[in-house]
Symmetry: C2
Subunit: 407 residues, 2 copies
């Protein structure tokens, strides 16, 4: 018998209980032992609920029970999750979590405590929900130097951008719709400002570099400035706009990490990822291109990943699965040194401005979008972002918006 405790009976926590109840027989077969949820920690009682007899209100009940070998943390947020998880690991209990904020901030430390105690700290569900990506990076793509990892890591914003692109809807309308459908929170900041995607790419960047990447160090731009007009230009260019979270290697162990809306051409593997789905593109120096696609959020997909971690923890009781993620901080490449093309919208007349713009930006492409008068767009050649900033500065009165072009 492998006894586990679940910290938090919210969406993911109740999903974990449901997954264990639904697929228990198969799960036990895979573990080679019987999995049993002994406690569910929550502030509330749930009379009439299948878990009513497992509910405890005091974390110390779980901590002090030596039967509990694995703890599932699905409360979210840094505290008290961090304190609880650390105590569990120090007490020799493995932990599986879906908490991206916790993992992004304290992942390296918690992994090192798990290693010292010969147990495991697992967090597959913290990035890409049900999509297996952490374990593949950790144990499948081990013959490669990962040169790029770029993902659509936030379902809310992808749903919104898909609606804006395919239906021509504006930002405020799609946000209200996303809120009405339960895809966006009442306070949508974490999604629409890119913070959620930023924590996730910080975790992935730490894993591919083996060092701590702080999300605060990653340049992060959300989708709040994307307009109906921008989408018209995107269509005129044959592109779409996606919120990409990306980390690219720039020689040695230096990464350029960024979260920003980007224009993507149809050839890009992430172009067709629509709605609430997530997808993660990986380029390895010998593997070449690979992509992982699935539900990035949702009760059951996320719970599926958490329970898979529980299975792995149960198969590795008293045996640490090595994860390379040192606490030593990685210095990220300066955004100014990243090379790409830029789409820029200008107020004014393209014929009048063209000679000056060519002088500033070189061999540019002019983009006109249907129905948009008194403005035009250009696409620059590949240049360093620092150079773009210097040159764009001259035109700051005329520039309406800039969107990065991927590929």
């Amino acid at each position: 018998m492998v006894n586990i405790a679940v910290l938090g009976y919210g969406t993911v926590g109740s999903g974990v209980v449901e997954v264990v109840n639904t697929n228990g027989a198969r799960i036990n077969q895979r573990i080679g032992d019987e999995l049993k949820i002994k406690y569910v920690l929550d502030l509330k009682d749930f009379p009439g609920d299948p878990v009513q007899d497992m509910i405890v209100h005091d974390f110390d009940t779980i901590l002090s029970d030596e039967d509990i070998k694995i703890v599932v943390e699905v409360m979210g947020g840094i505290e008290p999750a961090y304190t609880f998880v650390k105590k569990c690991l120090l007490a020799g209990k493995s932990v599986a979590t879906s908490n991206k904020a916790l993992v992004a901030k304290h992942g390296a430390e918690l992994l090192s405590i798990a290693k010292e105690n010969n147990i495991n700290f697992l967090f597959e569900a913290s990035v890409g929900g049900g999509i297996p990506i952490i374990r593949p990076l950790n144990s499948s793509l081990t013959a490669d130097e990962i040169e790029e990892i770029t993902g659509i890591l936030n379902g809310t914003t992808n749903y919104m951008l898909s609606k804006m692109f395919y239906e021509g809807a504006d930002y405020d309308t799609v946000l209200k719709e996303a809120q009405a459908n339960g895809y966006a929170e009442r306070n949508p900041e974490a999604d629409v400002e890119g913070y959620d995607a930023c924590r996730k790419i910080a975790i992935l960047s730490s894993l591919i570099s083996g060092q701590q990447v702080d999300f605060e160090d990653i340049y992060c731009e959300g989708i709040t400035e994307i307009t109906v007009e921008d989408m018209k230009y995107a269509k005129a260019m044959g592109t779409t706009i996606k919120l990409l979270a990306s980390s690219k290697r720039h020689g040695g162990n230096r990464l350029h990490a960024i979260v920003a809306p980007c224009m993507l051409y149809p050839e890009h593997p992430l172009y067709n990822v629509n709605g609430v789905f997530n997808s993660i593109f990986v380029h390895g120096n010998v593997l070449g291109d690979a992509m992982f696609y699935g539900s990035g959020a949702g009760k059951l997909p996320t719970a599926s990943a958490v329970v898979a971690d529980v299975v792995d923890a149960a198969k590795h009781l008293n045996r640490n699965i090595m994860t390379m993620w040192k606490q030593e901080k990685l210095k990220l490449e300066d955004k100014a040194d990243a090379k790409r093309r830029f789409f820029i919208r200008f107020k004014g007349n393209e014929d009048e401005m063209l000679p000056r713009l060519q002088d500033s930006f070189g061999d540019i492409e002019i983009i006109k979008a249907e129905g948009l008068l008194g403005e035009f767009g250009i696409v620059t050649p590949v240049m360093m972002e620092g150079d773009y900033v210097t040159r764009a500065n001259i035109y700051r009165e005329q520039i309406l918006h800039m969107i990065r072009v991927e590929g």
Copy 2:
């Protein structure tokens, strides 16, 4: 030091050497020890080649060397690969292989020998080349009942069908082109008849059921009958034609497995997989939909997967990683009991035949393709394949072709 031997210095074998040479430092870091290729078994010598001093011609040199803890088998074919691999496992050496024929036929037995000897038999590269799919099925999707696994598992036929669809080329022309580009063998049978994809879906079916699925039991239809005309109908329907290898659960542990060209709508996750790429769609009962995409073949992608298995074997010396695949044979669902829609091309006039066809097949959809006179197509409602066969039998003189419709 972890000493390994490579059996076979062909395309994949030389790729394995190249990957170890290129990414050695990173690989050693992941293993926590130094990986060294001590022997390469081949019939030929390779004077001037970096491996010239490692070449041995006698398998027994490798078998009797106790330093060799891991053996890479990349010779292909059943014999002598099977004899060599079995001897290695019995001698306590873990084996990593890319050999789908070997795995499909003897996987269950070789896994069981590995388990008894507390070592590992790993075969990530046998399906989907560089795409991680075996290990994710085995250790990531463990909280789910996998209800469907459907893949584009053969790059050669996908390249050919993509060319036929996008360029309107005919089968013979694209086959010659594929052969000229090195994508198809001079004898293309294994690819175009679907046998390669069939061995791969047999392996995946065994893994999701935990029992032996023989590829000989799987209905297998290749792409040799797909014509320019079929592609015209596919376009008229807004679909494309892909060679799908598929295994679907029909209640309990019964699978319906099939390899056949299918018409796919743009909403299907595999619709956009073009050229030599492979992709594998998985539906889990709690995970929902997921998809894995990448290079299904090629020297370095395949070698990347083989070396990742070597890393895993090196991290699990004397410790078996459990894989559920018993030798007990799984009885597959009869093809006649599988339900789907069918596209059927008829000789004749649709107005004349419509009443009779409606009588036979129910609520059908008529499809006309540009420029095709004296024939037409229909799409049937969802029906059992057995019923389709009975009804189609009445029209066997008029039926030009049948293609299954997916989704």
